[in-house]
Amino acid sequence: MKILTTVKKVVDVELNMHVRDGAIVQEGLQYVMNAWDENAVEVSVQLKENHNAETTLVSIGGGEDNTKIIRRAFAMGIKNAVQIDDPALAEADSFVYARVLQKVYEKGNYDLVITGKQAQDTDNGQTGIILAEYLGLPCVSNVIAIEVMDDQHIKVSRLGDSGTEIVELTLPAVVTVDVAINVPRLPQTRGIMMAKKMPIDVMDLAALGTSHDEVGGGGPKSKIVEFIAPETRKTGRKFEGDAAEITAQVVGLLANEAKVL
Protein backbone atom coordinates (compact mmCIF):
# COMPACT_ATOMS: atom_id res chain seq x y z
CA MET A 1 0.00 0.00 0.00
CA LYS A 2 1.39 3.41 -0.94
CA ILE A 3 0.30 6.26 1.27
CA LEU A 4 0.51 9.99 0.61
CA THR A 5 0.31 12.08 3.76
CA THR A 6 -0.07 15.84 3.81
CA VAL A 7 1.58 17.97 6.48
CA LYS A 8 1.15 21.67 6.93
CA LYS A 9 3.14 24.20 8.84
CA VAL A 10 0.86 26.28 11.03
CA VAL A 11 1.37 28.95 13.63
CA ASP A 12 1.68 27.57 17.18
CA VAL A 13 -1.84 28.07 18.51
CA GLU A 14 -0.55 28.18 22.08
CA LEU A 15 0.64 31.70 21.38
CA ASN A 16 -1.43 34.83 21.62
CA MET A 17 -2.40 36.36 18.31
CA HIS A 18 -2.18 40.12 18.10
CA VAL A 19 -3.92 42.01 15.35
CA ARG A 20 -2.60 45.35 14.21
CA ASP A 21 -3.86 47.31 11.23
CA GLY A 22 -5.89 44.40 10.01
CA ALA A 23 -2.98 41.96 9.99
CA ILE A 24 -1.60 39.46 12.45
CA VAL A 25 1.58 40.63 14.15
CA GLN A 26 4.29 38.25 12.99
CA GLU A 27 6.90 39.11 15.59
CA GLY A 28 7.45 36.39 18.13
CA LEU A 29 5.37 33.81 16.29
CA GLN A 30 6.66 30.29 15.90
CA TYR A 31 5.49 27.55 13.60
CA VAL A 32 4.83 23.90 14.21
CA MET A 33 3.29 20.89 12.50
CA ASN A 34 -0.50 21.12 12.36
CA ALA A 35 -1.86 19.00 15.21
CA TRP A 36 -4.26 17.06 12.97
CA ASP A 37 -1.42 16.33 10.56
CA GLU A 38 0.54 14.80 13.43
CA ASN A 39 -2.32 12.35 13.73
CA ALA A 40 -2.21 11.76 9.98
CA VAL A 41 1.52 11.05 10.15
CA GLU A 42 0.99 8.68 13.07
CA VAL A 43 -1.70 6.80 11.12
CA SER A 44 0.65 6.44 8.18
CA VAL A 45 3.56 5.27 10.27
CA GLN A 46 1.39 2.71 12.03
CA LEU A 47 0.23 1.40 8.65
CA LYS A 48 3.86 1.17 7.67
CA GLU A 49 4.69 -0.79 10.81
CA ASN A 50 1.68 -3.09 10.69
CA HIS A 51 1.02 -3.47 6.99
CA ASN A 52 4.33 -2.63 5.34
CA ALA A 53 2.88 0.46 3.71
CA GLU A 54 5.15 2.84 1.83
CA THR A 55 4.95 6.32 3.25
CA THR A 56 5.45 9.62 1.47
CA LEU A 57 4.63 13.01 2.81
CA VAL A 58 3.86 16.12 0.84
CA SER A 59 4.21 19.61 2.20
CA ILE A 60 3.47 22.85 0.42
CA GLY A 61 5.62 25.79 1.40
CA GLY A 62 9.21 26.75 1.93
CA GLY A 63 11.59 28.05 4.54
CA GLU A 64 13.28 26.64 7.61
CA ASP A 65 10.07 26.11 9.52
CA ASN A 66 8.69 23.96 6.77
CA THR A 67 11.84 21.88 6.60
CA LYS A 68 11.62 21.48 10.38
CA ILE A 69 8.21 19.87 10.22
CA ILE A 70 9.23 17.59 7.38
CA ARG A 71 12.16 16.42 9.49
CA ARG A 72 9.79 15.88 12.38
CA ALA A 73 7.67 13.63 10.19
CA PHE A 74 10.82 11.75 9.15
CA ALA A 75 11.72 11.30 12.80
CA MET A 76 8.27 9.86 13.43
CA GLY A 77 8.87 7.31 10.71
CA ILE A 78 7.82 8.69 7.33
CA LYS A 79 10.23 7.49 4.69
CA ASN A 80 9.90 9.90 1.76
CA ALA A 81 9.09 13.56 1.40
CA VAL A 82 8.03 15.84 -1.40
CA GLN A 83 8.13 19.57 -0.80
CA ILE A 84 6.48 21.96 -3.20
CA ASP A 85 8.15 25.30 -2.73
CA ASP A 86 7.03 28.01 -5.11
CA PRO A 87 6.50 31.69 -4.32
CA ALA A 88 3.44 31.69 -6.55
CA LEU A 89 1.67 29.65 -3.93
CA ALA A 90 2.02 32.25 -1.20
CA GLU A 91 -1.63 33.27 -1.40
CA ALA A 92 -3.04 29.85 -2.16
CA ASP A 93 -6.43 28.81 -0.86
CA SER A 94 -7.79 25.30 -0.28
CA PHE A 95 -8.66 24.89 -3.95
CA VAL A 96 -5.16 25.77 -5.12
CA TYR A 97 -3.61 23.49 -2.53
CA ALA A 98 -5.91 20.72 -3.68
CA ARG A 99 -4.84 21.20 -7.29
CA VAL A 100 -1.17 21.07 -6.32
CA LEU A 101 -1.77 17.97 -4.26
CA GLN A 102 -3.59 16.50 -7.22
CA LYS A 103 -0.48 16.97 -9.33
CA VAL A 104 1.67 15.35 -6.67
CA TYR A 105 -0.75 12.46 -6.40
CA GLU A 106 -0.75 11.94 -10.13
CA LYS A 107 3.01 11.72 -10.18
CA GLY A 108 2.98 8.69 -7.93
CA ASN A 109 0.94 5.58 -7.64
CA TYR A 110 -0.81 6.07 -4.35
CA ASP A 111 -3.51 3.92 -2.82
CA LEU A 112 -4.42 6.13 0.08
CA VAL A 113 -4.21 9.84 0.83
CA ILE A 114 -4.34 10.75 4.50
CA THR A 115 -4.74 14.33 5.66
CA GLY A 116 -5.56 15.92 8.95
CA LYS A 117 -9.19 16.97 8.97
CA GLN A 118 -8.37 20.67 9.29
CA ALA A 119 -5.48 23.01 9.77
CA GLN A 120 -5.10 24.95 12.98
CA ASP A 121 -4.48 28.24 11.24
CA THR A 122 -7.40 28.33 8.85
CA ASP A 123 -9.74 25.86 10.58
CA ASN A 124 -11.30 25.33 7.13
CA GLY A 125 -11.28 21.57 6.87
CA GLN A 126 -11.78 21.65 3.09
CA THR A 127 -8.57 20.77 1.29
CA GLY A 128 -8.68 17.01 1.71
CA ILE A 129 -12.31 16.76 0.58
CA ILE A 130 -11.77 19.04 -2.41
CA LEU A 131 -8.72 16.98 -3.39
CA ALA A 132 -10.90 13.88 -3.39
CA GLU A 133 -13.38 15.61 -5.68
CA TYR A 134 -10.62 16.64 -8.08
CA LEU A 135 -9.19 13.14 -8.08
CA GLY A 136 -12.59 11.53 -8.34
CA LEU A 137 -11.78 9.36 -5.35
CA PRO A 138 -14.06 8.26 -2.52
CA CYS A 139 -13.52 10.23 0.64
CA VAL A 140 -14.45 10.02 4.28
CA SER A 141 -13.71 12.91 6.62
CA ASN A 142 -13.47 13.15 10.39
CA VAL A 143 -12.15 9.59 10.68
CA ILE A 144 -11.37 8.17 14.10
CA ALA A 145 -10.35 4.64 13.20
CA ILE A 146 -8.93 2.84 10.18
CA GLU A 147 -8.84 -0.88 9.62
CA VAL A 148 -7.17 -2.49 6.62
CA MET A 149 -9.41 -5.18 5.17
CA ASP A 150 -7.30 -6.18 2.22
CA ASP A 151 -5.22 -4.67 -0.59
CA GLN A 152 -8.24 -2.92 -2.03
CA HIS A 153 -10.42 -2.07 0.91
CA ILE A 154 -10.28 -0.29 4.20
CA LYS A 155 -12.94 0.16 6.83
CA VAL A 156 -13.12 3.49 8.58
CA SER A 157 -15.09 4.88 11.49
CA ARG A 158 -16.29 8.42 11.14
CA LEU A 159 -17.67 10.71 13.80
CA GLY A 160 -21.00 11.69 12.28
CA ASP A 161 -23.99 13.61 13.58
CA SER A 162 -25.93 10.65 14.88
CA GLY A 163 -23.06 8.54 16.03
CA THR A 164 -20.09 6.68 14.66
CA GLU A 165 -20.48 5.81 10.98
CA ILE A 166 -18.76 2.67 9.74
CA VAL A 167 -17.84 3.03 6.08
CA GLU A 168 -16.10 0.64 3.73
CA LEU A 169 -13.86 2.33 1.22
CA THR A 170 -12.52 0.94 -1.99
CA LEU A 171 -8.97 2.08 -2.63
CA PRO A 172 -7.60 4.40 -3.86
CA ALA A 173 -9.31 6.81 -1.48
CA VAL A 174 -8.85 9.97 0.59
CA VAL A 175 -9.29 10.03 4.34
CA THR A 176 -9.17 13.03 6.67
CA VAL A 177 -8.49 12.21 10.31
CA ASP A 178 -9.56 13.65 13.63
CA VAL A 179 -7.42 13.87 16.80
CA ALA A 180 -9.38 11.07 18.40
CA ILE A 181 -7.82 8.55 16.04
CA ASN A 182 -4.54 8.13 17.90
CA VAL A 183 -1.93 9.73 20.13
CA PRO A 184 0.95 10.79 17.88
CA ARG A 185 4.30 9.49 19.03
CA LEU A 186 6.97 11.89 20.16
CA PRO A 187 9.92 11.78 17.77
CA GLN A 188 12.73 9.94 19.52
CA THR A 189 16.37 10.94 19.54
CA ARG A 190 17.54 8.25 17.17
CA GLY A 191 14.85 9.14 14.66
CA ILE A 192 15.66 12.83 14.97
CA MET A 193 19.35 12.18 14.35
CA MET A 194 18.62 10.09 11.28
CA ALA A 195 16.02 12.54 10.00
CA LYS A 196 18.70 15.19 9.66
CA LYS A 197 20.25 13.33 6.78
CA MET A 198 17.19 12.12 4.90
CA PRO A 199 16.66 13.66 1.45
CA ILE A 200 13.68 15.86 0.65
CA ASP A 201 12.48 16.05 -2.91
CA VAL A 202 12.01 19.81 -3.29
CA MET A 203 10.15 20.99 -6.36
CA ASP A 204 8.67 24.17 -7.64
CA LEU A 205 5.53 24.11 -9.77
CA ALA A 206 7.54 23.75 -12.95
CA ALA A 207 9.43 20.73 -11.66
CA LEU A 208 6.10 19.30 -10.64
CA GLY A 209 5.09 19.56 -14.24
CA THR A 210 2.55 22.30 -13.86
CA SER A 211 2.23 26.04 -13.59
CA HIS A 212 0.53 28.64 -11.46
CA ASP A 213 -2.11 29.17 -14.10
CA GLU A 214 -2.93 25.52 -14.14
CA VAL A 215 -3.32 25.15 -10.39
CA GLY A 216 -4.51 28.67 -9.76
CA GLY A 217 -7.34 28.14 -12.19
CA GLY A 218 -8.14 31.78 -12.74
CA GLY A 219 -7.18 33.33 -9.47
CA PRO A 220 -8.08 32.54 -5.88
CA LYS A 221 -11.73 32.13 -5.13
CA SER A 222 -11.56 34.25 -2.01
CA LYS A 223 -9.19 36.54 -0.22
CA ILE A 224 -8.72 37.44 3.40
CA VAL A 225 -8.96 41.20 3.41
CA GLU A 226 -8.69 41.78 7.10
CA PHE A 227 -7.93 40.14 10.40
CA ILE A 228 -9.95 41.29 13.35
CA ALA A 229 -9.23 40.75 17.03
CA PRO A 230 -12.22 39.12 18.69
CA GLU A 231 -14.02 41.09 21.35
CA THR A 232 -12.48 40.60 24.73
CA ARG A 233 -14.90 39.49 27.31
CA LYS A 234 -15.88 41.96 29.97
CA THR A 235 -14.92 40.84 33.43
CA GLY A 236 -17.83 39.11 35.04
CA ARG A 237 -18.98 38.89 38.62
CA LYS A 238 -17.87 36.37 41.20
CA PHE A 239 -20.26 35.37 43.97
CA GLU A 240 -19.03 33.94 47.28
CA GLY A 241 -20.97 33.04 50.33
CA ASP A 242 -23.80 30.77 51.28
CA ALA A 243 -24.31 28.31 48.44
CA ALA A 244 -28.10 28.46 48.46
CA GLU A 245 -28.21 32.24 48.50
CA ILE A 246 -25.68 32.93 45.80
CA THR A 247 -26.93 30.19 43.50
CA ALA A 248 -30.45 31.53 43.70
CA GLN A 249 -29.14 34.98 43.00
CA VAL A 250 -27.18 33.87 39.95
CA VAL A 251 -30.05 31.90 38.48
CA GLY A 252 -32.18 34.98 38.83
CA LEU A 253 -29.61 37.01 36.95
CA LEU A 254 -29.29 34.40 34.23
CA ALA A 255 -33.02 34.52 33.67
CA ASN A 256 -33.70 38.24 34.06
CA GLU A 257 -30.47 40.00 33.28
CA ALA A 258 -28.74 37.80 30.75
CA LYS A 259 -32.02 36.35 29.59
CA VAL A 260 -30.51 33.00 28.69
CA LEU A 261 -32.75 30.69 30.68
Binding site: V11, K221, T235
Partner: protein
Protein backbone atom coordinates in the same frame (compact mmCIF):
# COMPACT_ATOMS: atom_id res chain seq x y z
CA UNK B 1 -31.32 39.46 -6.19
CA UNK B 2 -29.60 36.93 -4.04
CA UNK B 3 -30.82 33.37 -4.05
CA UNK B 4 -30.09 31.35 -0.97
CA UNK B 5 -30.32 27.59 -0.89
CA UNK B 6 -30.39 26.25 2.68
CA UNK B 7 -29.61 22.61 3.28
CA UNK B 8 -32.15 21.32 5.76
CA UNK B 9 -30.50 20.04 8.91
CA UNK B 10 -32.24 16.77 9.63
CA UNK B 11 -31.06 14.58 12.46
CA UNK B 12 -32.72 11.30 13.28
CA UNK B 13 -35.88 12.35 11.51
CA UNK B 14 -36.14 15.74 13.21
CA UNK B 15 -35.71 19.11 11.54
CA UNK B 16 -33.16 21.08 13.52
CA UNK B 17 -33.29 24.73 14.45
CA UNK B 18 -30.47 25.83 12.20
CA UNK B 19 -32.72 25.50 9.16
CA UNK B 20 -35.04 28.29 10.24
CA UNK B 21 -32.12 30.34 11.53
CA UNK B 22 -30.42 30.23 8.15
CA UNK B 23 -33.62 30.93 6.28
CA UNK B 24 -34.35 33.89 8.55
CA UNK B 25 -30.98 35.37 7.74
CA UNK B 26 -31.58 34.79 4.06
CA UNK B 27 -34.81 36.73 4.27
CA UNK B 28 -33.06 39.41 6.28
CA UNK B 29 -30.62 40.05 3.47
CA UNK B 30 -33.52 40.17 1.06
CA UNK B 31 -32.87 36.92 -0.74
CA UNK B 32 -35.13 34.42 -2.37
CA UNK B 33 -35.06 31.27 -0.35
CA UNK B 34 -35.09 27.58 -1.09
CA UNK B 35 -34.36 24.56 0.99
CA UNK B 36 -33.09 21.11 0.04
CA UNK B 37 -33.82 18.09 2.18
CA UNK B 38 -32.34 14.61 1.79
CA UNK B 39 -33.30 11.45 3.54
CA UNK B 40 -35.89 8.71 3.64
CA UNK B 41 -39.46 9.04 4.83
CA UNK B 42 -39.06 12.78 5.17
CA UNK B 43 -42.43 13.65 3.69
CA UNK B 44 -43.72 14.66 7.09
CA UNK B 45 -41.01 17.27 7.40
CA UNK B 46 -42.12 19.29 4.39
CA UNK B 47 -44.60 21.54 6.24
CA UNK B 48 -41.81 22.31 8.63
CA UNK B 49 -39.55 23.20 5.74
CA UNK B 50 -42.15 25.61 4.47
CA UNK B 51 -42.80 27.18 7.85
CA UNK B 52 -39.11 27.67 8.37
CA UNK B 53 -39.26 30.25 5.62
CA UNK B 54 -38.50 28.59 2.30
CA UNK B 55 -40.21 29.45 -0.97
CA UNK B 56 -39.05 26.34 -2.79
CA UNK B 57 -38.53 22.92 -1.30
CA UNK B 58 -36.22 20.51 -3.10
CA UNK B 59 -36.88 17.07 -1.72
CA UNK B 60 -34.85 13.93 -2.29
CA UNK B 61 -36.61 11.11 -0.52
CA UNK B 62 -35.00 7.78 -1.25
CA UNK B 63 -34.03 4.64 0.68
CA UNK B 64 -30.49 5.14 -0.51
CA UNK B 65 -30.40 8.42 1.37
CA UNK B 66 -31.50 7.03 4.70
CA UNK B 67 -27.98 6.82 6.04
CA UNK B 68 -25.71 9.79 5.49
CA UNK B 69 -23.21 9.45 2.68
CA UNK B 70 -21.30 12.51 1.54
CA UNK B 71 -21.22 11.71 -2.17
CA UNK B 72 -24.94 11.21 -2.82
CA UNK B 73 -25.90 14.08 -0.47
CA UNK B 74 -23.53 16.39 -2.32
CA UNK B 75 -25.10 15.38 -5.61
CA UNK B 76 -28.55 16.33 -4.35
CA UNK B 77 -27.35 19.70 -3.17
CA UNK B 78 -25.61 20.41 -6.46
CA UNK B 79 -28.74 19.38 -8.31
CA UNK B 80 -30.92 21.69 -6.23
CA UNK B 81 -28.40 24.52 -6.44
CA UNK B 82 -28.31 24.32 -10.22
CA UNK B 83 -32.03 24.12 -10.54
CA UNK B 84 -32.59 27.01 -8.18
CA UNK B 85 -29.72 29.07 -9.54
CA UNK B 86 -28.51 29.64 -6.01
CA UNK B 87 -25.66 31.99 -5.44
CA UNK B 88 -25.46 31.31 -1.72
CA UNK B 89 -25.57 27.76 -0.47
CA UNK B 90 -25.70 27.42 3.29
CA UNK B 91 -25.25 24.45 5.57
CA UNK B 92 -25.97 24.43 9.25
CA UNK B 93 -23.03 23.53 11.45
CA UNK B 94 -22.92 19.75 11.50
CA UNK B 95 -20.51 16.98 10.59
CA UNK B 96 -22.58 16.24 7.52
CA UNK B 97 -22.51 19.87 6.51
CA UNK B 98 -18.76 20.05 6.89
CA UNK B 99 -18.32 16.88 4.85
CA UNK B 100 -20.62 17.89 2.01
CA UNK B 101 -19.99 21.63 1.59
CA UNK B 102 -16.46 21.36 0.12
CA UNK B 103 -17.65 18.76 -2.36
CA UNK B 104 -20.46 21.01 -3.52
CA UNK B 105 -18.05 23.93 -3.85
CA UNK B 106 -15.58 21.85 -5.84
CA UNK B 107 -18.25 20.52 -8.16
CA UNK B 108 -19.70 23.98 -8.75
CA UNK B 109 -16.22 25.47 -8.82
CA UNK B 110 -17.11 28.18 -6.32
CA UNK B 111 -15.65 29.47 -3.06
CA UNK B 112 -16.24 27.64 0.20
CA UNK B 113 -16.17 29.07 3.72
CA UNK B 114 -16.51 27.04 6.90
CA UNK B 115 -17.79 28.22 10.24
CA UNK B 116 -18.93 31.68 9.16
CA UNK B 117 -20.44 33.97 11.75
CA UNK B 118 -21.72 36.63 9.42
CA UNK B 119 -22.34 37.24 5.74
CA UNK B 120 -22.60 40.60 4.00
CA UNK B 121 -23.80 41.36 0.51
CA UNK B 122 -22.68 44.64 -0.96
CA UNK B 123 -23.73 45.10 -4.56
CA UNK B 124 -23.09 41.54 -5.62
CA UNK B 125 -19.89 41.36 -3.57
CA UNK B 126 -20.11 38.68 -0.94
CA UNK B 127 -18.10 39.03 2.27
CA UNK B 128 -18.05 36.70 5.23
CA UNK B 129 -16.65 36.85 8.71
CA UNK B 130 -15.29 33.69 10.23
CA UNK B 131 -13.07 32.78 13.17
CA UNK B 132 -9.65 31.20 12.63
CA UNK B 133 -6.63 30.00 14.62
CA UNK B 134 -8.81 28.25 17.17
CA UNK B 135 -11.05 31.25 17.72
CA UNK B 136 -8.14 33.63 18.37
CA UNK B 137 -8.80 35.91 15.44
CA UNK B 138 -11.62 36.71 13.02
CA UNK B 139 -11.13 36.89 9.27
CA UNK B 140 -13.08 39.13 6.93
CA UNK B 141 -13.05 37.39 3.59
CA UNK B 142 -14.00 38.77 0.21
CA UNK B 143 -15.46 36.15 -2.10
CA UNK B 144 -14.28 36.45 -5.69
CA UNK B 145 -16.65 33.99 -7.21
CA UNK B 146 -20.23 35.02 -7.71
CA UNK B 147 -21.33 32.13 -5.56
CA UNK B 148 -20.43 30.89 -2.12
CA UNK B 149 -20.90 27.62 -0.30
CA UNK B 150 -20.79 28.14 3.42
CA UNK B 151 -21.14 26.21 6.65
CA UNK B 152 -22.65 28.52 9.23
CA UNK B 153 -21.53 28.50 12.87
CA UNK B 154 -24.13 27.23 15.31
CA UNK B 155 -26.23 30.08 16.62
CA UNK B 156 -24.62 32.69 14.36
CA UNK B 157 -27.95 33.62 12.79
CA UNK B 158 -31.14 34.15 14.70
CA UNK B 159 -34.46 32.74 13.72
CA UNK B 160 -37.08 35.40 13.11
CA UNK B 161 -40.41 34.88 14.85
CA UNK B 162 -43.39 34.43 12.65
CA UNK B 163 -41.67 33.91 9.34
CA UNK B 164 -43.19 31.53 6.89
CA UNK B 165 -42.74 30.40 3.34
CA UNK B 166 -44.60 29.10 0.32
CA UNK B 167 -45.09 25.51 -0.55
CA UNK B 168 -43.36 24.75 -3.80
CA UNK B 169 -42.10 21.20 -3.79
CA UNK B 170 -39.60 19.98 -6.36
CA UNK B 171 -38.73 16.32 -6.22
CA UNK B 172 -35.14 15.51 -7.01
CA UNK B 173 -34.19 12.30 -8.72
CA UNK B 174 -32.32 10.02 -6.42
CA UNK B 175 -28.57 10.26 -6.85
CA UNK B 176 -26.26 7.40 -7.67
CA UNK B 177 -25.02 5.47 -4.70
CA UNK B 178 -21.39 5.90 -3.88
CA UNK B 179 -20.19 2.37 -4.51
CA UNK B 180 -16.72 3.11 -3.29
CA UNK B 181 -17.72 4.48 0.09
CA UNK B 182 -20.36 2.23 1.43
CA UNK B 183 -21.83 3.03 4.79
CA UNK B 184 -22.41 -0.15 6.69
CA UNK B 185 -23.92 1.04 9.93
CA UNK B 186 -24.16 3.83 12.39
CA UNK B 187 -23.32 3.17 16.00
CA UNK B 188 -25.72 5.54 17.68
CA UNK B 189 -24.78 7.67 20.58
CA UNK B 190 -26.70 6.76 23.68
CA UNK B 191 -30.33 7.79 23.39
CA UNK B 192 -30.72 10.98 21.37
CA UNK B 193 -27.84 12.97 22.72
CA UNK B 194 -27.76 16.64 22.02
CA UNK B 195 -25.09 17.80 19.65
CA UNK B 196 -22.60 20.14 21.31
CA UNK B 197 -22.18 22.23 18.22
CA UNK B 198 -25.91 22.57 17.83
CA UNK B 199 -26.94 23.27 21.36
CA UNK B 200 -28.12 26.58 22.70
CA UNK B 201 -26.97 25.66 26.15
CA UNK B 202 -23.88 23.59 26.88
CA UNK B 203 -23.04 22.20 30.30
CA UNK B 204 -19.47 21.00 30.70
CA UNK B 205 -17.87 19.06 33.49
CA UNK B 206 -14.28 19.15 34.69
CA UNK B 207 -11.96 17.56 37.19
CA UNK B 208 -13.88 19.01 40.09
CA UNK B 209 -16.49 16.33 39.58
CA UNK B 210 -13.86 13.77 40.54
CA UNK B 211 -15.54 10.59 39.30
CA UNK B 212 -18.54 9.02 37.63
CA UNK B 213 -20.88 10.02 40.45
CA UNK B 214 -19.92 13.66 40.03
CA UNK B 215 -20.21 13.44 36.26
CA UNK B 216 -23.66 11.95 36.54
CA UNK B 217 -24.70 14.75 38.85
CA UNK B 218 -23.66 17.36 36.31
CA UNK B 219 -25.24 15.38 33.50
CA UNK B 220 -28.58 15.63 35.30
CA UNK B 221 -28.25 19.39 35.16
CA UNK B 222 -27.57 19.16 31.43
CA UNK B 223 -30.59 16.93 30.98
CA UNK B 224 -32.79 19.35 32.89
CA UNK B 225 -31.78 22.12 30.54
CA UNK B 226 -31.89 19.87 27.47
CA UNK B 227 -28.35 21.10 27.02
CA UNK B 228 -25.38 19.66 25.21
CA UNK B 229 -23.05 17.85 27.61
CA UNK B 230 -19.35 18.44 27.24
CA UNK B 231 -16.16 17.92 29.15
CA UNK B 232 -12.63 19.11 29.62
CA UNK B 233 -9.66 17.15 28.39
CA UNK B 234 -8.82 16.02 31.91
CA UNK B 235 -11.99 13.98 32.22
CA UNK B 236 -11.58 12.54 28.73
CA UNK B 237 -7.98 11.54 29.44
CA UNK B 238 -9.08 9.99 32.72
CA UNK B 239 -11.36 7.76 30.70
CA UNK B 240 -14.68 8.95 32.06
CA UNK B 241 -15.94 10.66 28.93
CA UNK B 242 -15.63 9.89 25.22
CA UNK B 243 -13.38 12.13 23.21
CA UNK B 244 -16.03 13.63 20.98
CA UNK B 245 -17.45 15.44 24.00
CA UNK B 246 -14.23 17.30 24.67
CA UNK B 247 -14.54 21.05 24.48
CA UNK B 248 -11.25 22.69 23.85
CA UNK B 249 -8.41 23.50 21.54
CA UNK B 250 -8.10 19.96 20.20
CA UNK B 251 -11.73 19.09 20.68
CA UNK B 252 -14.89 20.96 19.86
CA UNK B 253 -15.12 24.68 19.68
CA UNK B 254 -18.54 25.80 20.80
CA UNK B 255 -20.24 29.16 21.13
CA UNK B 256 -23.64 28.55 22.66
CA UNK B 257 -25.86 31.16 24.18
CA UNK B 258 -25.15 29.83 27.65
CA UNK B 259 -22.11 27.82 28.68
CA UNK B 260 -21.93 26.31 32.15
CA UNK B 261 -18.44 25.32 33.31
CA UNK B 262 -18.90 23.04 36.30
CA UNK B 263 -15.85 22.04 38.28
CA UNK B 264 -13.59 23.37 35.55
CA UNK B 265 -10.49 25.32 36.50
CA UNK B 266 -10.19 27.14 33.18
CA UNK B 267 -6.96 26.03 31.56
CA UNK B 268 -6.15 28.02 28.44
CA UNK B 269 -6.74 25.05 26.16
CA UNK B 270 -10.28 24.65 27.42
CA UNK B 271 -11.02 28.36 27.25
CA UNK B 272 -10.06 28.32 23.60
CA UNK B 273 -12.97 26.00 23.00
CA UNK B 274 -15.71 28.00 24.72
CA UNK B 275 -14.60 31.62 25.01
CA UNK B 276 -16.93 32.56 22.21
CA UNK B 277 -20.02 31.64 24.22
CA UNK B 278 -22.45 34.45 24.76
CA UNK B 279 -22.85 33.99 28.51
CA UNK B 280 -20.57 31.91 30.72
CA UNK B 281 -21.47 30.59 34.15
CA UNK B 282 -18.74 28.96 36.22
CA UNK B 283 -18.95 26.88 39.38
CA UNK B 284 -15.67 26.13 41.15
CA UNK B 285 -14.49 25.60 44.69
CA UNK B 286 -11.32 27.64 44.19
CA UNK B 287 -11.94 31.40 44.09
CA UNK B 288 -8.65 31.84 42.23
CA UNK B 289 -9.51 29.48 39.40
CA UNK B 290 -8.77 31.13 36.02
CA UNK B 291 -12.27 30.25 34.76
CA UNK B 292 -13.58 33.14 36.80
CA UNK B 293 -11.63 35.50 34.57
CA UNK B 294 -13.87 34.67 31.62
CA UNK B 295 -17.11 33.86 33.40
CA UNK B 296 -19.88 36.41 33.38
CA UNK B 297 -21.28 34.86 36.52
CA UNK B 298 -19.06 32.88 38.84
CA UNK B 299 -20.23 30.84 41.80
CA UNK B 300 -17.49 29.99 44.27
CA UNK B 301 -18.60 26.79 45.86
CA UNK B 302 -18.46 23.03 45.90
CA UNK B 303 -20.26 21.72 42.84
CA UNK B 304 -21.68 18.85 44.81
CA UNK B 305 -23.49 21.42 46.91
CA UNK B 306 -24.22 23.98 44.20
CA UNK B 307 -25.45 21.81 41.33
CA UNK B 308 -28.51 20.41 43.13
CA UNK B 309 -29.39 23.96 44.17
CA UNK B 310 -28.91 25.14 40.59
CA UNK B 311 -31.28 22.48 39.34
CA UNK B 312 -33.85 23.41 41.93
CA UNK B 313 -33.65 27.11 41.20
CA UNK B 314 -33.84 26.54 37.46
CA UNK B 315 -36.86 24.31 37.94
CA UNK B 316 -38.51 27.06 39.95
CA UNK B 317 -37.78 29.77 37.43
CA UNK B 318 -39.03 27.73 34.53
CA UNK B 319 -42.33 26.79 36.08
Amino acid sequence: MAKVLVIADIKQGVLKGSTSQLLSKARAIGAETAVVAMGHHIESLIPGLVNAGSDVQYVADDPGLELFSAGPYASCVVDAARQFGANLIWFGFSESGKAVAPRVAAQLDVACATDITDVMLQADQIEVIRPAITNKVLQRIKIHTGQLVAVVRAGAFEATEGISGTENIVRLSPPATDLKAVIRQILSEAGGEIDLADANIVVSVGRGAKDQAGIDLVKELANDLKAGFGSTRAMVDAGFIPHYKQVGQTGKIVAPTLYMAIGISGAIQHLAGMKGSKVILAVNKDPEAPIFNVADYGIVGDLFEVVPILREEIRKIRS
